[in-house]
Symmetry: C2
Subunit: 107 residues, 2 copies
C-alpha cells in the first residue's frame, strides 16, 4: 500500500428503490465499481491508483465518482464512461469535462 | 453542496470481532466518526469541509482518517485526536505529524 497518484472514490449509497432522493446504488453504481475494479486489474493499475467505496457524497446526482487530489466530481457516470475516466483523467491527467458536476454545485 | 476546502474520509470497514486483519469499525472508528460529525456541527464547519464514510482504505492500521487534497493518511485515530486534526490540519493547514502513517507505508 502506497499513497496513490490519484484516488478514486465511488459512492455506494443505497436508499432502496423508489426513494424520492434516489441513491447511487439504485442508479447503477455497482456496475461502475465493477468496471473500475476490472480495468484496474486488467491494466495493472492497483498501487498507482486507489479505488474506494463510500457512503453518500452529497450531490445525489449519481452514480458519483470523485477523484482526488484534484477534487473532480463526476455525475451520472455509466459503465461505458469508466474507460474514458481512466484513460483521460487517471492516465492522461485531463479531467473529463462532460461528466463533471457544474461549478455552481461543486466548484 | 460545494466543493470542500478539505475532504475527510473515515474508514468504516467492519470485519467483525476477532478477525485476524482487524477492521476500523472494530478499532473504534464509529466514535471517531461521531466526534467529527459533532464537532463539524458545533463549529459550523459543514460546507467548508466534508465528511464521508468509506469502505476499506487499505493499510488496516486504523481507525484511519484520510484527508484530501493533501492525501494525508492518519492511523490509530482516537476520539481524543479529532479536535487536534480539526484545529491543526483542517483549520490550521498543518497536518498532525504524530498521527500520520510512516512514509514507507503511505508516502
Amino acid at each position: 500500500m502506497t499513497k496513490p497518484a490519484k484516488h478514486v472514490f465511488i459512492c455506494g449509497q443505497n436508499r432502496g428503490p423508489g426513494h424520492p432522493r434516489g441513491s447511487c446504488s439504485q442508479s447503477g453504481a455497482p456496475a461502475v465499481w465493477e468496471e473500475f475494479a476490472f480495468e484496474f486489474q486488467q491494466r495493472n493499475l492497483n498501487g498507482q491508483f486507489a479505488l474506494t467505496n463510500t457512503g453518500c457524497l452529497g450531490p445525489c446526482n449519481g452514480p458519483h465518482v470523485l477523484v482526488y487530489p484534484e477534487g473532480v466530481m463526476y455525475a451520472k457516470v455509466s459503465k461505458g464512461d469508466v474507460k474514458t475516466i481512466i484513460e483521460e483523467h487517471l492516465l492522461g491527467d485531463t479531467p473529463v469535462a462532460r461528466l463533471q458536476l457544474p461549478a455552481e454545485i461543486w466548484g
